[in-house]
Amino acid sequence: MIELERVAYTYGGAELFADLSMTLAPGSFHFLTGPSGAGKTTLLKLCYGELIATSGMVRIFGQNTREMDRDQIALARRRIGVVHQDCQFLDHLPMAENVALPLTVSGRQEEADEYLADLLAWVGLSGQASQLPPQLSGGERQRAALARAVIMSPEVVIADEPTGNIDWEMSQRLLTLLVELNKMGKAVLIATHDLNLIRAAKTQVAARVLRLRGGQLQAAGSEL
């Protein structure tokens, strides 16, 4: 689905990483960990085409991102659900409309009426549908972002520090939702510092943990 082959990325003259390879296969579950500034968010952005590799090849659903135009990237993103650490909502729209944004931009608004209520119930936000994003708590925003990420039934879900701003109980709830998605056959890639979250996930799913450090991507050891 998403393949990185000998990828390098340079930012501001400094090489963030080089010769990095990774494959996200259908139904896989990956954690991406590493120190702050190691390039986790950059790596995720390469995976959904927001950034283009300096060298090497990133293929999204078989297409080389360097050869894709902006509209092709946009169409590919409809098959990838992304949960940002800061959620990124349109603050002037109610939460339900924010969750339905991927359907709206795809011209499939009528499906929102069909799925939205069930999806909001699934993430436990049925009562907050009409609230604006700034009125929601951190955990509610993260769950709303997850709902938005999956409303198009994407093949891949990518989450960047999804539990960074929420308490442990809410982290567990969010993890449960991501594990459920993985069990539906979605590939999941989560960037996180939260080792407890990784340990909790490994009790529920066969997750692979990758550590990004010093520009290299390595499989994490048994300490996790």
């Binding site: 902006r70 990124q88 991927p102």
Partner: protein, 297 residues
């Protein structure tokens, strides 16, 4: 959907993605209204000068004047001789000598009402009205030179040409004004659109994150600016047309400026201004949006 159809039909949920607040709303509506208001006057000026040029051209082209300058005791004889020549000249419909009263009336603006015509060596004027393609001025001059030595033919060519040229230039200035107004409107709407795109960079980022294409993102802005420009121009054009409608009538006050306005079907022209303003806004916003989205990628 095609560009124009999507602008007219729209998509309420897509439109909601761009916040409605911001100074660009007022700026677009106000500048469109102001420009449409000015455009109505520029249009009225162009059409009025066109009518004026046509009228001057037509009126002056159909008449000529023959001036008999001779010693007082020969004026009557030469006038009769000139009238005989004119009666046999092809293209002359009618010719008549102005009476003393008519000549006094012509001179009255310069010399006052009690001009003693009889005691002054004033030439006799003959008014000639042409028919068909008019007469051959060169041939007529030659005949008059032979038969009426004191006759001078003025076919108005000398002073008709600069008047018509002046009216033509005024009309051109009106059209240039219209083009400048359109250009200024495009520039203002482009600036407003760019400001809106900058102010909504977070909105654009989120739309891209969820898979919006450039055409979809641009469409949300283009539709809004086009409709605002259309509405503003509608208001401005209506106000301008009302202003023209309430100008004093030409035949009451007289003069060119009071003749500024529309006649007959020309009143339909202001109706074209809002759609034109919408088109200008559509093109300028779409160009600005596509360029900005390309820069932000």
């Amino acid at each position: 959907m095609s560009g124009w159809t999507s602008v007219l039909v729209g998509d309420p949920r897509a439109d909601r993605m761009v916040p409605k607040t911001g100074f660009t709303v007022q700026l677009t509506v106000f500048s469109s209204a102001a420009m449409a208001f000015l455009a109505v006057f520029a249009l009225a000026l162009s059409l009025a000068t066109e009518r004026l040029a046509d009228r001057w051209s037509a009126e002056l082209a159909r008449t000529s004047t023959l001036r008999i300058s001779a010693p007082q005791d020969q004026i009557a004889a030469q006038t009769e001789a000139a009238l005989r020549v004119l009666q046999t000249t092809p293209g002359v419909g009618s010719a008549r000598a102005l009476s003393d009263d008519e000549q006094v009336a012509l001179l009255e603006p310069w010399f006052g009402p009690d001009l003693p015509v009889a005691s002054l060596p004033i030439p006799r004027l003959i008014e000639i009205v042409e028919i068909g393609d008019g007469f051959d001025a060169t041939g007529l001059r030659a005949r008059l030179q032979a038969e009426v030595p004191g006759a001078v033919l003025d076919d108005h060519t000398r002073w008709r040409a600069p008047l018509v040229a002046a009216a033509d230039r005024l009309r051109s200035l009106g059209y240039i004004s219209l083009a400048l107004i359109g250009g200024a409107m495009a520039a203002m709407i482009t600036l407003a659109a760019q400001a809106a795109l900058s102010a909504n960079s977070q909105v654009i980022r989120v739309m891209r994150l969820v898979g919006a294409t450039d055409a979809f993102i641009a469409g949300a802005f283009v539709r809004r600016f086009t409709l605002r420009a259309f509405a503003g121009a509608g208001f401005g054009a209506a106000a301008g047309a009302a202003g023209i409608f309430f100008l004093p009538e030409a035949d009451v006050a007289g003069g060119f400026l009071t003749g500024l306005g529309f006649e007959g079907l020309h009143w339909l022209w202001p109706l074209a201004i809002p759609p034109l303003a919408g088109t200008v806004a559509f093109v300028s916003t779409r160009t600005a949006a596509i360029r900005r989205l390309k820069e932000q990628s």
